[in-house]
Amino acid sequence: MYNPTVARLTYRALLGRRRALILFALPALLIVIASAVRAFNGVDDQVAADVLGGFALATMVPLIGVIAGTGAIGPEIDDGSIVYLLAKPVKRPTIIVTKLTVAIAVTMVFSAVPTFVAGMILNGNGQQVAVAYTVAALVASIAYSALFLLLGTVSRHAVVIGLVYALLWEALFGSLIAGARTLSVQQWALSVAEKVAGDGLVASDVGLPVAVALLAGVTVAATWYAGQKLRTLTLAGEE
């Protein structure tokens, strides 16, 4: 279910040349902000949780998920070079699983590692805040990658749709309508973080069992459906 050649090509597509700049810019900014806050403010557990929750988990992880998830397959479908890959004797689900593995790895490296570093800078892992948000970022990376990889196979406007979900649904509707929060990867990841962190610093609206079930369900279903979608892929011409 894992093809090293496909993986190598996907890594190169994701990290080649200028594309990696966006991926490096975001974590760098997070660490700069964390250092600035620490210098301004000193150690404060609540501020650390706010920065990690408000900036790292709410903005950075979904954005990197969108870039890595859709970037793993979207451009290839977009410019039609996916046919050369599909013409090889490699199973379609294998292609999806390989690309998903790569996307998850990239998202984890570029979101969880800087989250942990920023957490250490902010309060030296006081009350397990850094570890809690790192775990949340790791968990969210898996679900986001699977979701956005599926989007990449379904629509040519995957990046836009992914951003609408990440920014409008999770950030805007999530803060206005309580019900929308139940259907949000961010909240599921937060409920995992809630278990790890000290009391009262991380709050989620979803219970842990529900969150874990939804996370696993969404990941598996999205991966399966993306495989199905790739089996019956029709290449659209340029509009």
Partner: protein
């Protein structure tokens, strides 16, 4: 003429009837105008497939609907003043403006790069400056239509509700100036990010990342500064993201109330710096685009 004709006849094997074009040549200005109007129409999907009309039209509708609702409520309850300032509208709907820009700026420039049509443009009588100006103008124009239309709805509604004419006109004018600045600023930033990559998807991500990340970082820092009573620091931080720049300029010069924490917008002195940064960014993005297209395509 007759000499030339006889000469070509002796050198031709077949005369298959090709004729030279001797009608009027419409020239550089016409080509520039065409490129501008095509790009502007393309930003709303006009003249393109039905599928590419969906997203810009939905975003345009979503921009206008809240304005219509506000007007309806204001008229129905006979308010003396609109519940929302003209200048605040774009700040509230910034996510939509950002999405529109992210979707349309790469549409405008990335595909020209990817399908190598840019050399074809430059084989016409237009120059680099015409191409950049036409694309920049079209993007800013499309954003202006998007951001000014709801203001027009608000203005017409306020006049229908017989609110104070002078007061409303002044607010409307200030709002228009503010969204014009916003359109130029956002259009420039969007095109620069989009022109970096021939891949549309990466262009979309780059544009939205620039807008959202800078805004997210600034508001997070402002929130922390507010929480730790560093009110003075708040207004300096606004210099680092496009939408807070516009917010600062209109707070200082266009009579808007700031949406910074504690309403701690810049005063006129610092506001001049805000305006300077905005103008520098607009001119800077024009310069970057000119540089980008110095050597392109082939």
């Amino acid at each position: 003429m007759s000499i030339e004709t006889t000469r070509t006849e002796t050198t031709q094997i077949h005369n298959i009837g090709y004729r030279n074009y001797d009608g009027p040549r419409l020239g550089r200005a016409y080509a520039r105008r065409s490129l501008f109007s095509q790009s502007l129409r393309g930003a709303y999907g006009l003249g393109r497939s039905a599928k590419s009309k969906v997203l810009p039209m939905i975003l345009f509708a979503v921009m206008c609907v809240p304005a219509a609702i506000i007007v309806a409520v204001a008229v129905a309850t006979k308010m003396k003043d609109l519940p929302l300032d003209y200048t605040r509208y774009a700040i509230f709907t910034q996510a939509l403006i950002g999405l529109y820009l992210a979707a349309q700026a790469p549409q405008s420039v990335s595909r020209d790069l990817r399908f190598k049509t840019v050399p074809l443009y430059f084989s016409r009588p237009i120059e680099r400056v015409d191409y950049v100006l036409a694309k920049f103008g079209a993007m800013a124009g499309a954003l202006f239509i998007l951001t000014a239309s709801p203001l027009v709805i608000l203005y017409i509604g306020s006049l229908l509700a017989k609110m104070d004419f002078a007061d409303q006109s002044k607010g409307f004018g200030q709002g228009l100036v503010s969204v014009a600045l916003l359109s130029l600023l956002f259009g420039g930033i969007g095109l620069v990010m989009a022109a970096l990559t021939p891949r549309r998807g990466f262009g979309v991500a780059a544009v939205i990342a620039t807008l959202v990340i800078s805004y997210g970082a600034v508001t997070t820092l402002q929130g922390i500064a507010y929480g730790t009573d560093n009110i003075d620091a708040i207004k300096w931080m606004g210099l680092f993201s496009p939408i807070t720049l516009i917010d600062g300029v209109q707070t200082a010069f266009l009579g808007a109330t700031s949406s910074f924490p504690a309403g701690a917008g810049p005063s006129a002195g610092l506001g001049a710096l805000y305006l300077l940064v905005v103008l520098a960014l607009i001119l800077g993005s024009y310069a970057v685009l000119m540089r980008r297209y110095r050597k392109v395509g082939l």
